[in-house]
Symmetry: C2
Subunit: 164 residues, 2 copies
């Protein structure tokens, strides 16, 4: 029986395949759990990430934002337009260089930032109930070996999630 055969595979390729899908599943599940909470305050995960990056680096250009975001590459124009429309962000052209758009959180954006922080802290508590700090540190260090070989490590360093 076909399903049965793969059940007993223990070759390294299988472990690697398992690794790949477990990382995928973990990310998706984590993302879904957070989306459920963010939805209650009327934002998406991507918007949450934008708000947190703005809180820390505002005012910031669209390009710089794009460099710091994990959720999208390039110029996140449409995501930002929707957030401007929703009232979370103020956007204006730079007076010094009209190529640049500058972004900052609005009052509403600051308010929702506080809610995001609470949601994230609750989510982190859930994770901390499952994993010890050492276990997470170990995973962080191990996966960093992979991440450091690619340009995404710049984004992570920019966000202080990876050391130099």
């Amino acid at each position: 029986m076909k399903g049965e055969v793969s059940k007993i595979r223990q070759d390294s390729s299988y472990v690697t395949e398992q690794f790949r899908y477990i990382i995928l599943a973990t990310q998706r599940l984590g993302s879904r759990l957070l989306q459920e909470e963010y939805k209650k305050i009327g934002i998406s995960s991507s918007q949450s990430e934008v708000i947190q990056v703005l809180k820390e680096w505002e005012p910031i250009s669209l390009k710089k934002l794009g460099e710091l975001l994990l959720c999208e590459e390039g110029s996140p124009s449409r995501l930002i337009d929707r957030m401007v429309k929703a009232g979370f962000i103020n956007k204006y052209r730079s007076e010094e260089d009209s190529r640049y758009v500058l972004l900052e959180l609005s009052e509403k954006g600051r308010e929702i930032y506080e809610k995001i922080v609470r949601i994230d802290q609750e989510f982190y508590k859930k994770l901390e109930n499952i994993f010890s700090e050492d276990e997470m540190k170990q995973v962080n260090q191990l996966l960093s070996k992979f991440l450091m070989r690619y340009p995404v490590c710049q984004t992570l360093r920019g966000r202080n999630f990876l050391e130099k």
Copy 2:
């Protein structure tokens, strides 16, 4: 300076936040690297997953497929329609129960399956150059603690990526 402050954080919440984003970055990077390869043979990651699931479980209903896929929940009608259109999959109504649609790989689907396997094996070799088998096993076991608490573990067990 705001960026500086978070750089020296070592509290557990920070480790957890780091963990969250490193998992996200790892999944996205892995996904992107694979997409680059899959693109060369004219498919997407989701289509690749569908083809691999069909190869192993065909013929299969849309609903069953949806249960086994990590890339989408519910009834993946549109993804399948595009793959039927592209010639990878044959689709027909069940004679026993017309609610069911049954799916199987076409000849073209079988051919591309062989290419997918090669792409995946190359990708796994890359991962195996970075991580030892023990390291990946450890990550698999650790993240399983999280996955097992949620329904996604059924999907993973169905795919033989999680033990009972």
